[in-house]
């Protein structure tokens, strides 16, 4: 088994874990963490693609690394925004649950 395949399998596991957490976990903070695991899996997959030399058939491919760095910055900003809103929600309500919909929004769906 080549090293790229090992990376690829690890990436697939991380993506699976992240997706599971993002969909199943009820707490927003856990969802945000799951998103980061999912993102980590995707970046690792990109790394495996780079190692394989992508479709160009080269020994290694520098382009995915540049993209992964940008992706990490984007994921970091997303996490920061999510945590900031979460903190503000905690200050306002004393809780971080998405379940008890405040009465103002009056939405019928409560499962998120």
């Amino acid at each position: 088994m080549s090293i790229a395949t090992v990376f690829g399998i690890c990436a697939a596991c991380l993506v699976g874990l992240g997706l599971y957490g993002l969909i199943v976990q009820p707490q927003p903070l856990r969802k945000i963490l799951a998103f980061n695991i999912l993102g980590g899996g995707i970046f690792l997959l990109f790394g495996a693609v780079a190692r394989r030399g992508a479709a160009a058939g080269m020994g290694g491919d520098p382009v995915p690394q540049a993209l992964v760095i940008t992706g990490i910055v984007v994921a970091f900003s997303a996490t920061a925004l999510g945590v900031a809103i979460l903190l503000r929600l905690f200050e306002e309500t004393g809780g971080t649950s998405l379940r008890d919909t405040p009465k103002e929004s009056q939405s019928q769906e409560t499962n998120s």
Binding site: I23, G39, L45, A54, T70, S77, T101, S112
Partner: protein, 498 residues
């Protein structure tokens, strides 16, 4: 592709369309919220001119405008490309942004001698950010660049939801963010798979290389699912109604009219530009079925709403459904035009509607539909604009909505898929019913004449009316826009393998 290898003569406008809003963001940050309105309106006025110049350039040359960043051609460099679809959407975006900027000042003005509030700075920065991100989505020609543009759009849209900072809007914003993050992760995963299979992310180069194989199908499926979550396609729409109805009116208008169209635009790029011949019949039918579900479900739930803003938000859920009816009919030339017309006319009509609802709520202090009596007498222009926008959503001729439904209906019948036609007609009836429910009390007389707590600015009413009239004009003069939408598409279908 010789004509695409070099930059087009007036491609500088493409750079300006991106640079201007970003420069505006920095300027407002430096100058502070007090000058936010002045800076924003000046730049957006210039932006409308730039959008017109781009559309004019595309129209005159009859081909897409392209710009190569730093003179490097793809796959190494990044190309900006404006075809007919982008040009039309850039023009619509600049008009809606201008309207939102003109409408907003009362809520986000910093009074003389008072310190500025958080919202007064944030709103203008976010307005410019939405504009920058939308232009980046329309001009991008590289799937990773488009990913970054999509994230910018999310990061601009989520804070718009919770500008007021109340717990309800914070919950709505967080839920929106979580859906959007899942969506962007799936999109990026699909982009990685495409890069792994074909070694490029440039749309033009990808279109020349893609083959119908499992890797492509998986990538397109992941990306479409992720983008659908961001577009709030039924059944992943549940974040939209609380988010769009809780935001301040100018922000709701931006979110409903523009932000959901950004991710939709990328689905169009994927299905019509990256892999035009390879999106199988079944996948198209599934997307169409979800769209049909959105039309029926959104319409029925909108009928049951007691609050005006929630009714309008559920109407957005239903109207998004029409956008997706073009995918099962992709082989028909009318389908793409119908879907894009829906995106454009809905943008104008829904922006007008949210802003009109904001003016009514501002006068009454609430937006309960049952207690709207007398508002038609107090705010005749606003209610008239609301009615015009409603006519466009229902699809009464000669509005933009009517023309959209015409195109989609004719596509569905020529394709022999009459069931989509039935859904379109049923959706029109439902829209008629829920709009009638909202307008009937608004037009009724009340025994006690309404006393306005503060005079409503005539300028804001005229902005709302102008947007509603835009939705109408799109339907009255459809020929030019339709021809514009086709520009730059022939080239791609030649490149694509059969």
């Amino acid at each position: 592709m010789p004509s695409e290898a070099m930059a087009s003569p007036n491609a500088g406008f493409l750079v300006l369309a991106l640079a201007l809003p970003v420069a505006g963001i920095l300027l407002v940050f430096l100058a502070g919220g007090r000058y936010g309105r002045g800076i924003t309106l000046t730049l957006v006025l210039a932006g409308v001119g730039i959008a017109a110049a781009i559309a004019d350039g595309v129209w005159r040359t009859g081909d897409a405008l392209t710009y190569l960043a730093g003179g490097w051609a793809p796959p190494l460099g990044i190309k900006l490309r404006a075809d007919g679809l982008s040009a039309a959407m850039i023009v619509v975006t600049s008009i809606v942004i201008l309207a939102a900027g003109l409408y907003a000042p009362n809520e986000f003005r910093v009074a003389q001698g008072k310190s500025e509030t958080r919202a007064s700075l944030s709103f203008w920065v976010l307005l410019l950010s939405v504009w920058a991100a939308m232009n980046a989505v329309f001009l991008g020609n590289d799937l990773f660049n488009l990913y970054v543009a999509l994230e910018l759009l999310t990061f601009a849209g989520v804070p718009l939801v919770c500008l007021s900072g109340s717990p309800a809007t914070l919950t709505a914003a967080l839920r929106y963010l979580l859906f959007a993050l899942l969506g962007s992760a799936l999109y990026l995963l699909g982009a990685v798979l495409l890069y792994g299979s074909y070694g490029t992310l440039d749309i033009g180069l990808l279109a020349a290389q893609v083959r119908p194989e499992p890797a492509l199908w998986l990538a397109i499926a992941l990306m479409t699912a992720g983008l659908a979550a961001k577009t709030a396609l039924f059944p992943v729409h549940i974040w939209l109604p609380p988010a769009h109805s809780g935001a301040p009116p100018a922000a709701s208008a931006l979110l409903s009219a523009l932000v959901v169209k950004g991710s939709f635009f990328l689905i169009v790029r994927l299905w019509f530009d990256v892999a035009p011949a390879m999106t199988g019949a079944i996948a198209g039918q599934i997307l169409g079925a979800m769209g049909a579900g959105a039309i029926v479900f959104g319409g029925v739930v909108a009928l049951r709403q007691t609050r005006l803003k929630l009714l309008i938000a559920y109407s957005t859920v239903a109207q998004i459904g029409y956008l997706f009816l073009m995918f099962p009919l992709a082989a028909e030339p009318n389908a793409l035009a119908g879907g894009m017309f829906q995106a454009i006319s809905h943008a104008f009509a829904k922006a007008a509607m949210f802003m009109a609802a904001g003016l009514m709520a501002g006068v009454l202090g609430h937006d309960r539909i049952a207690d709207l009596r007398g508002i038609g007498r107090a705010l005749p222009i606003t209610v008239f604009a609301f009615g015009l926008a409603a006519l466009s959503l229902v699809g009464v001729p000669p509005s933009g909505g009517f023309f959209t439904k015409c195109l989609l209906l004719s596509a569905s019948f020529t394709a022999g898929q009459w069931w989509w036609g039935a859904v379109i007609l049923a959706g029109g009836l439902l829209a008629g019913a829920y709009m009638f429910r909202a307008l009937m009390p608004a037009l009724a007389n009340s025994e006690i004449p309404l006393t306005l707590p503060a005079p409503v600015s005539r300028g804001r009413e005229i902005v709302v009316l102008a947007l509603a009239v835009c939705a109408l004009l799109v339907g009255m003069f459809p020929q030019r826009p339709i021809e514009l939408l086709q520009i730059g598409r022939v080239h791609l279908s030649e490149v694509a393998p059969q």
